[in-house]
C-alpha cells in the first residue's frame, strides 16, 4: 500500500477503531474520552495528508480496493478524487473540533460510552460514505450514519421533559406537537429509511444493469444503462427513486420533518450530524452523481432525446424542491422560539439552497460552475453552522433554557461567544464580505442561470428571510432586554463565558469564516479550481473566477439589508416592539404566526393521514391482500423475478469466496471450532457431565468471588 492509500484507509478506519476502543476502555472514564477524541484528531491529520496528495501529487486521484465478496463483485475500496478529498478534509476537521467541544460539553453525562461509541462510529461511517468506491460500501456508510444519528438523537432516551423539542401540551389539528428524544429518534429513522428504500432500489437496478457496484464503472457506462432505462420510459422514475435517499437524508420537503425534532439530541450532535455533516450526505450524493447524470444526458442527446429530456426534467425537479425547501423552512425559522430550532429550520433551508444549486447545475451552460456553487455553499455552511450550533450549545448551557424568551442581554457576559456568533450569523445572513455572502451569491447566480424563474425568485426572497431571522437570533440572544431568567442568573453571578475547551472550536470556526470571506476574491478561485480539477465524470476543467453580477447584487443585497433592518427595527426599537405586540393581538396575523409555528401543519397532516390510513387499511386491506398479493405476487410475479435475480448472481460467481473469507480470516477460528466440536460426543453421559461440571464451576466461581 502506498502512502496516499494508507492515509485514505487510515482516515476512515481510525474512527471505527476509536469506537471499538471506547467500548474496550470504558473503565478509563475521562481518559477514554480523550482517546476517542484523539483518534478523530489523527483521522483529521490523515485526511489532511490525503488531501495534500490528491491536490498536488497523484494526478488528483487515490484509489485502493480489496475484495470482500468477490462472487458478487463487492469490494471494500476507496476512490478519492479531488471532490471527495476536499469533502473528507472538511468533515474530518469539523468532526475533530466538535469532538474536542464534546469533551467538555458531555463531561458529566452518564452515557458517555454510548456517546463516544456512536460519535466515532458516525465519523467513520461518514468518511467511508464520501470515500467509498462502490455503491454498496457507500450504502453501508449511509446506513451507519443513520444508525448513529438515531442513537444520538435518542441519547437522552429516558425522556426527561427538559430534553423535549416543542411545547408540551401544544397540539395542532389535534396532533401533539412535542417530541421526547426516543420518539424523535424513531421519527428520524422512519423518515430517512423511507428514502433509503428508494436508494437501495436504485442500487439494485444499477447492479442488475451493469453487473457492478463500482461508482467509476457506473459513471463510465452511464450512457448504456441510461439508454436502457430511457428506452423503456423508466429513466425519470429511476432517477427520482435513486435520489430519494439523498432527499430524505438532507431533509428536503416532504422529508424535512425529522430534522426539526432531531434537536432532542445533545447540541454537539446537532452541530455535527444535523448541521455540518450527515445531512450533507444527500448533497454529496448529488455532487457525486449530478456529473454522471449529466454525462448520460450528453450521450443521450442525439440518440434518445426523450432520455435527455427526462434528465433535464429531473434536474428541474431537484432545483424546485431545493428552492421550495429553502423558502418553506426559512418561513418557519421566523417564528421559532427555541434557539436550536431556529438553527434547525435554517439548516434545512440552507440545504435547500444547496439542492437548488446542484439542480441548477444540470440546467446550466457550464455544469462545473453549478457544482462549485453547491460545493462552496456546502463548505461555508458547514463551517458557520457548526459554529452557530456550538455557540448555541454554550448559551443553552449557560442560561439553562432552550427558549430565546429566556435569553437576551448576554453580550456583556459572553464576549467571545458573542463575537463568534455575530460573525457566523452575519455570514448566514449573507452580509459581505463574509464567506456566506460569496457562497450564497454563487448559489443565487446558479439559480438565475438555470432559467427556472420560480426557483430564482424563491431563492432571493429566502435571502431576505434568512437575514431577518439571523438578526432576530442575535438580537434576542445577546441584546433585547434581559429576560427574568437572565436577570436572575446575573444576580447570582452565574453567567460566565464558556469553558475554553468548548469556546475554542467555535471561535476558531468563526475566525475561519471571517478570514475565508475576506480573502475569498483572492484564494477562492484557486481553491475551487483545485476542487474541480479532477472530479469523476466532470470532464470540462472550469474557468473559475469570483465575479459579482450587478443585477443579482442589486436584487439580493437590498433584501438582505432590508431583512436585517426590519429585524433591528422590530427587536431593538420601542415602536418595533409595539408592532410585535400588535401582531400578536391581531387575529389574522397571529393565525399566520401559528401556521408557521406549527410547521405549516405538515406534521399533523402526516400523523392524521398515516393513522387514519392504517385504520382504513386494516378494514379493507385483508380482502385485497388475499386476491392481489397471494394470487398475483406470490404465484406469478415472485417465482419469475427470483429466477432472474438468481441468474444474475450466477453470472458473477467465480468461486473465489473460498480464498477470500474462508481461508485467510477464519482458519484460526476454524481450529478452535473443530476442537470445541469434539466435546459433542453423542453420549448422554458426557452431556450430563458437562451440565453438572458447568453448574459446579459456576457456583464455585461465584461463591469464591463473592466470599
Amino acid at each position: 500500500m502506498e502512502f496516499a492509500q494508507t492515509t485514505a484507509v487510515v482516515a476512515w478506519a481510525l474512527p471505527y477503531l476509536g469506537a471499538l476502543l471506547s467500548l474496550a476502555l470504558s473503565k478509563l472514564g475521562r481518559v477514554r474520552d480523550y482517546i476517542a477524541a484523539s483518534t478523530l484528531g489523527l483521522s483529521a491529520i490523515s485526511a489532511t495528508l490525503l488531501a495534500r496528495e490528491v491536490f498536488s501529487g497523484h494526478g488528483g486521484l487515490v484509489t485502493w480496493s480489496v475484495d470482500w465478496v468477490p462472487g458478487m463483485g463487492v469490494s471494500l475500496g476507496v476512490y478519492v478524487d479531488t471532490l471527495s478529498g476536499a469533502m473528507a478534509l472538511i468533515i474530518a476537521w469539523l468532526c475533530f473540533l466538535i469532538g474536542v467541544y464534546s469533551l467538555e460539553y458531555m463531561a458529566h453525562d452518564p452515557g458517555r460510552t454510548r456517546y463516544w461509541f456512536f460519535f466515532d462510529f458516525f465519523v467513520g461511517s461518514m468518511l467511508l460514505l464520501v470515500m467509498a468506491d462502490n455503491l454498496l460500501i457507500m450504502f453501508l456508510g449511509w446506513e451507519g450514519t443513520g444508525l448513529a444519528s438515531y442513537a444520538l438523537i435518542g441519547h437522552w432516551y429516558t425522556d426527561e421533559q427538559g430534553r423535549w423539542v416543542g411545547d408540551p401540551g401544544r397540539t395542532a389539528l389535534g396532533v401533539p406537537m412535542w417530541f421526547p428524544p426516543s420518539h424523535s429518534g424513531l421519527r428520524a429513522l422512519t423518515f430517512t429509511r423511507l428514502g433509503d428504500v428508494g436508494f437501495l432500489l436504485g442500487i439494485g437496478v444499477l447492479y442488475s444493469l451493469t453487473g457492478t457496484f463500482s461508482i467509476p464503472e457506473i459513471a463510465h457506462s452511464s450512457g448504456t444503462w441510461a439508454a436502457w432505462l430511457a428506452a423503456r420510459g423508466l429513466l425519470l422514475p429511476f432517477l427520482l427513486a435513486f435520489s430519494l435517499g439523498a432527499m430524505a437524508k438532507s431533509a428536503q420537503f416532504p422529508f424535512h420533518e425529522w430534522l426539526v425534532t432531531a434537536m432532542t439530541g445533545p447540541t454537539s450532535v446537532s452541530a455535527l450530524i444535523h448541521a455540518a455533516t450527515m445531512v450533507k450526505a444527500g448533497v454529496y450524493f448529488l455532487l457525486r452523481f449530478a456529473p454522471i447524470f449529466k454525462l448520460a444526458e450528453h450521450q443521450l442527446m442525439h440518440t434518445l432525446p426523450a432520455g435527455a429530456e427526462a434528465i433535464h426534467a429531473y434536474f428541474t425537479f431537484i432545483t424546485l424542491i431545493g428552492a421550495f425547501t429553502a423558502f418553506f423552512m426559512a418561513t418557519q425559522a421566523l417564528v421559532a422560539r427555541e434557539l436550536k430550532l431556529i438553527l434547525a429550520f435554517s439548516t434545512a433551508s440552507q440545504l435547500g439552497y444547496m439542492f437548488m444549486a446542484l439542480g441548477s447545475a444540470g440546467l446550466m451552460e457550464e455544469l462545473a460552475n453549478g457544482i462549485l456553487a453547491g460545493f462552496s455553499h456546502f463548505m461555508s455552511h458547514a463551517i458557520f453552522k457548526a459554529a452557530l450550533f456550538l455557540g448555541a450549545g454554550a448559551i443553552i448551557h449557560a442560561v439553562h433554557s432552550k427558549y430565546v424568551d429566556d435569553m437576551g442581554g448576554l453580550a456583556g457576559h459572553m464576549r467571545y461567544t458573542f463575537a463568534a456568533m455575530l460573525v457566523t450569523a452575519l455570514s448566514l445572513a449573507g452580509v459581505p464580505p463574509l464567506m456566506g455572502f460569496w457562497s450564497k451569491d454563487s448559489v443565487v447566480e446558479a439559480a438565475y442561470e438555470s432559467g427556472v424563474g420560480l426557483a430564482f425568485a424563491l431563492g432571493v426572497v429566502t435571502a431576505g428571510l434568512t437575514a431577518f431571522y439571523s438578526t432576530r437570533l442575535v438580537l434576542r440572544t445577546f441584546f433585547y432586554e434581559g429576560s427574568e431568567n437572565v436577570r436572575h442568573l446575573e444576580a447570582e453571578h452565574r453567567l460566565h463565558e464558556a469553558h475554553p475547551l468548548m469556546l475554542a472550536p467555535y471561535f476558531l470556526l468563526a475566525v475561519a469564516t471571517l478570514l475565508l470571506g475576506l480573502t475569498w476574491p483572492a484564494v477562492g478561485p484557486e481553491i475551487l479550481s483545485k476542487v474541480a480539477s479532477n472530479v469523476l465524470a466532470l470532464e470540462e476543467a472550469p474557468h473559475v473566477e469570483v465575479h459579482l453580477n450587478p443585477f443579482l447584487l442589486g436584487v439580493s443585497l437590498p433584501l438582505v439589508f432590508g431583512g436585517i433592518g426590519i429585524g433591528w427595527f422590530a427587536y431593538q426599537t420601542s415602536s418595533g416592539r409595539r408592532l410585535l405586540v400588535a401582531i400578536r393581538q391581531s387575529e389574522p396575523l397571529s393565525a399566520i404566526q401559528d401556521f408557521l409555528y406549527d410547521r405549516w401543519y405538515i406534521n399533523s397532516i402526516y400523523y392524521r393521514v398515516i393513522v387514519g390510513g392504517f385504520a382504513w387499511l386494516s378494514r379493507n386491506g385483508f380482502r385485497w391482500f388475499d386476491s392481489l398479493v397471494i394470487d398475483g405476487f406470490y404465484h406469478r410475479l415472485l417465482p419469475q423475478s427470483t429466477w432472474e435475480a438468481s441468474a444474475i448472481g450466477w453470472r458473477f460467481e467465480k468461486g473465489v469466496v473460498d480464498r477470500g473469507y474462508h481461508e485467510r480470516l477464519v482458519s484460526a477460528v476454524l481450529g478452535v471450532g473443530r476442537t470445541l466440536r469434539r466435546s459433542q460426543t453423542g453420549l448422554i453421559n458426557h452431556y450430563l457431565l458437562m451440565f453438572f461440571a458447568g453448574l459446579a464451576a459456576l457456583i464455585l466461581a461465584f461463591l469464591v468471588w463473592v466470599v
Binding site: 453421559n685 458426557h686 457431565l689 453438572f692 461440571a693 453448574l695 459446579a696 457456583i699 464455585l700 461463591l703
Partner: protein
C-alpha cells in the same frame, strides 16, 4: 406428629441411614429389579421424613402415587427387559468429584439453616382444600392436563406399529 424429642431424632437418624443406604444400592446394585426395589424403600423412607416434618398428607400421597404407582410402573418395565451387565462409563471418577463438589457447595451455602427447627404441626386439612380448590385450581387443571397428555403420548410412543 408429636413424638418425644429423642424419639424424633432417633427416627430421623434411622430413616436417614436407611435412605442413604438404599440410595447407594439403587445406583450400584447389579440387578435392575433390585434397584427398583430399593427405590421403593427410599420412597417409603422419604414418606417418613415428610411425616416427621409435619406433612402427613404429602406422605400418604407419596406412598400411594409415587411408591404405589410410579415405582410399580418402573418395576413393570424393568421386568420387560433382561438384566444386562453394565460396562463402566468413562470419566465416572470425574463425575463423582464434580457432583460431590456441587453437594458440598450447596451444603456450605445453606448452612444458615442449621439453627432453624422445622415447624412440625400439620397443615389444616380444611385450609389445604380451600387453597387447592379456590386458589390453585388452574394449576391443578394444568397438572391433570399434563397427566392426561403423558398417558396419551406414552401410548403413542410405546405402541407397536402395524
Amino acid at each position: 406428629m408429636s413424638l418425644p424429642i429423642d424419639l424424633t431424632s432417633l427416627v430421623f437418624f434411622a430413616t436417614s441411614a436407611l435412605a442413604v443406604a438404599s440410595a447407594i444400592l439403587v445406583v450400584s446394585h447389579r440387578s435392575l429389579v433390585y434397584a427398583a426395589f430399593f427405590l421403593d424403600v427410599l420412597g417409603t423412607a422419604n414418606a417418613v421424613f415428610f411425616a416427621l416434618l409435619g406433612y402427613p398428607l404429602v406422605a400418604v400421597f407419596q406412598l400411594t402415587v409415587y411408591v404405589g404407582s410410579a415405582v410399580t410402573f418402573i418395576l413393570f418395565s424393568v421386568v420387560m427387559f433382561k438384566d444386562v451387565p453394565e460396562p463402566p462409563v468413562p470419566l465416572k471418577e470425574f463425575a463423582a468429584v464434580t457432583i460431590a463438589l456441587i453437594a458440598a457447595a450447596l451444603l456450605v451455602t445453606f448452612h444458615s439453616f442449621s439453627g432453624i427447627f422445622p415447624q412440625t404441626q400439620a397443615v389444616e386439612m380444611e385450609e389445604l382444600t380451600r387453597l387447592v380448590v379456590d386458589k390453585y385450581w388452574f394449576a391443578l387443571l394444568l397438572s391433570i392436563l399434563s397427566m392426561a397428555t403423558t398417558l396419551i403420548e406414552a401410548i403413542t410412543l410405546a405402541r407397536r406399529e402395524v
